[in-house]
Symmetry: C2
Subunit: 464 residues, 2 copies
């Protein structure tokens, strides 16, 4: 990085927000992705879209790699500066601009923590449903970049279903809005949806307009044990076929539950030898009697799949404890050595076949896997522990195994990421998900937005 560029950045944002000290560079060299580390040359902390625009213009003119970063909770390496250069963090764009109660919308900057945003709208009786497990630390901007989901997606949809309009700084430095603050829009190509899930490769989102819905008054939560992982996943599809749409339908394999229970020292869930997996099922709505009835009927369905004795969460404390177990599962199993994570997604009814296939692959290749995730969406997180292999990135043997896994996912009608994105670590498998024509179109789109390939280059796919 040339001194003149550093000085230019200092001029734009103030020198205290242009950081090149070793500690800062180390802090921004990793996120939650496996165990990968890439050092940037400089970390810049702008405050406004205009500042980001000015930085981008310099980087674009001088072909300096730019990596945008939110809360640093990504799981696919999207925020890792693998080419060095500039990291632009959005942590100072952290204002909620307006909660519009007349139109049930919120306008926010990208650096707001998702849970902070959720609580702010909740205070007004409003609801923003997408809530990734990392909601206590992730940024709403990162959620836009990855098209995050979380447990409520099964009833309420994912991030893309709530984004109405985005202000974006393009790699050229131009600032645009992608759409309009309206609920229906048939005006030109849907640039908003093109931006959602584009993993910071097309622009840096600087302002976000989300639609909100009325907050449901009540929710009920229960935990159902199953004697086999396959039976549990068969029950998932059956519950929907019976006409129910739970507000959450999570699957946690027993190994994962044991690990996380130990980590957080919880005895909320009794773990016995004959249990292989649990479903966590939530319903929500405005009528408590109706919800009670629904819960009973859903419990009835689970018994047809050898579901065991149901544990109802009696109060908000029990609910919180159950959700804490679920939310901290990823962190716990990663610490326990399951460092490689996949974010597979298949049509809901193919979940049993996927679960069976994962176990068979483990036996064949000598790894242990634990499965958990958003079963109602067919979105299964698979954490792999293969002694001696901490990362999938750059490991040939692991890549070969994962190619087998993703080929299975593809053959079941699924794809390689449901909510974590492709980033750096799923990039070698894009040819399984797409054929060359599709990839060529995506590369073409990238080039329209980023002619010099400076913004998060080498993420999702390589430049052609």
């Amino acid at each position: 990085m040339k001194l003149e560029h550093i000085e230019a950045f200092q001029q734009i944002v103030g020198s205290q927000y242009v950081q090149t000290d070793a500690e800062t560079l180390e802090q921004y060299s990793h996120d939650e992705t496996e165990r990968l580390v890439f050092l940037p040359d400089v970390v810049i902390r702008p405050r406004t879209a205009e500042e980001i625009s000015a930085i981008m213009k310099i980087c674009n003119a001088n072909s300096i790699p730019v990596t945008p970063r939110g809360g640093g909770t990504g799981l696919s390496g999207g925020a890792l500066p693998h080419l060095g250069g500039v990291v632009i963090t959005t942590d100072r764009l952290n204002n909620i601009i307006e909660i519009d109660e007349r139109n049930l919308q919120v306008t926010t900057e990208p650096g707001v923590i998702t849970e902070v945003l959720q609580n702010a709208v909740k205070e007004k009786g409003l609801f923003y449903p997408p809530d990734p497990s990392s909601r206590g630390t992730c940024f709403i901007g990162g959620n836009i970049a990855e098209n995050s989901g979380g447990p409520k997606a099964v009833k309420y949809g994912v991030v893309k279903d709530y984004v109405l309009n985005l202000q974006v700084v393009l790699p050229t430095g131009d600032i645009i809005w992608t759409g309009s603050n309206v609920l229906k829009n048939s005006t030109g190509y849907n640039l908003t949806q093109l931006m959602v899930g584009s993993e910071g490769t097309l622009g840096i989102v600087t302002r976000i307009v989300l639609r909100l819905i009325p907050l449901p008054k009540y929710d009920l939560l229960m935990l159902v044990p199953f004697v086999s992982l396959e039976k549990a996943s068969e029950a998932v599809s059956a519950i929907f076929r019976a006409g129910f749409t739970p507000s959450a339908m999570e699957l946690v394999e027993i190994d994962a539950l044991q690990i996380v229970s130990k980590m957080v020292d919880s005895h909320a869930v009794p773990v016995t030898n004959d249990i292989a997996a649990h479903l966590i099922i939530e319903v929500d709505g405005n009528n408590l009697d109706v919800l009670m009835q629904e819960m009973e009927q859903i419990a009835e369905v689970t018994t047809q799949y050898e579901g065991g004795e149901v544990f109802f969460a009696d109060d908000s404390q029990q609910k919180d404890e159950l959700w804490k177990l679920r939310r901290r599962t990823a962190e716990a199993v990663k610490m326990a050595g399951y460092t490689i994570e996949e974010d597979t997604v298949v049509p809901r009814a193919e979940l049993p076949a996927l679960v069976k296939g994962v176990k068979a692959l483990g036996l064949k290749h000598g790894f242990h896997a634990v499965c958990y995730g958003h079963a109602g969406d067919g979105n299964l997180h698979i954490r792999i522990n293969k002694p001696g292999t901490p990362n999938s990135h750059g490991d040939e043997a692991m890549t070969a195994i994962l190619r087998e896994l993703f080929a299975l996912v593809k053959s079941l009608g699924g794809t390689i990421s449901g909510e974590h994105g492709i980033g750096l670590i799923q990039k070698p498998y894009m040819d399984i998900a797409f054929d060359p024509v599709q990839l060529q179109i995506m590369r073409g789109i990238k080039k329209i937005f980023d002619p010099n390939n400076i913004l998060n280059a080498g993420k999702i796919f390589d430049h052609a």
Copy 2:
């Protein structure tokens, strides 16, 4: 059109499906858009994606304009062959391929009539909510092209919220799938959402995978009269703020209701002198008691906005009659001389300001307008009757008036089309909705898909 090309098309689809007779050409020269007529050179009726691919390759190599066409119910001129050349109609791609009850999905060809598709899934207890007024004649493929909405959008969302995956023939003749048949997807750019609402300018959709939801067991319908259009539109936003999400929330101005009541010879709704507009409000769900209660509470809210005596539809016959009035409104007012239609959309709470502005513009410029539409979404259809001006297209005075209207819409945070698309007739106003950078990106995307600009060229925007 050269004879050799006609012969090549005949070779591909069979000569009976390559039509150049005057009657056919006339039939495909217009749709429901104002009163516009453009003759194609030839109409081709392929049966498969492969046939469409072969046709496209010839057209692409010889720069022959191609206009795709569904049911011919479009309101923005998207299916009009304004450059002559080839019309490709999808009317023979009319099979529902599979209703997947395990995964709650349907795979269909584009030439299936929307209502036929809805009824087919309904028989399995499933629900595909988007239902434009034209559902009895429009094609599901056209709905994808325009990102259609309809009355249920207010609760259930629009077409884009149900499309999981699309098979598309590109202008180059390549056949791709845009995504995967899964509920969550963070794998590469969202080509599916880029295709939805692209008005047949990026490719011809040949297969569609839609997600379905369980069919609600009950619905209730009521009609509420208001003494002023503004009060009615104020009540709309108030109902949502009170925490209700009706499954339909339609606004019909009294002039429109009088015209359509006369056309269909209905006395379902008593029309008295002191009524200016009605709201049609529907709720749906699985518990009849809860719905009854909701309806009463919503009715209570309307009284705060001078809503008059509520008319509850007692049985399915009364419901059908009310919906028939609403669905046939566009057709009736068009026949009555209101030939120019706009499809404005604003944030819901800005509806009163829009309604007021429309009336003021009418007074200023000497036209009469009737308003109706999907008030719950802020999507207001405005039909204009200006004696001597049957079309907005190419009429300078009308264009100037509409520029004023759209500037108002934009100033209220809205945009120029909520569900009908831009096509040919809203194209002159795109500079109000977007600035040059946004338009340049859209043109760039068009070029990635259609380098020779053969497919529905000159729709949405002109080639740069």
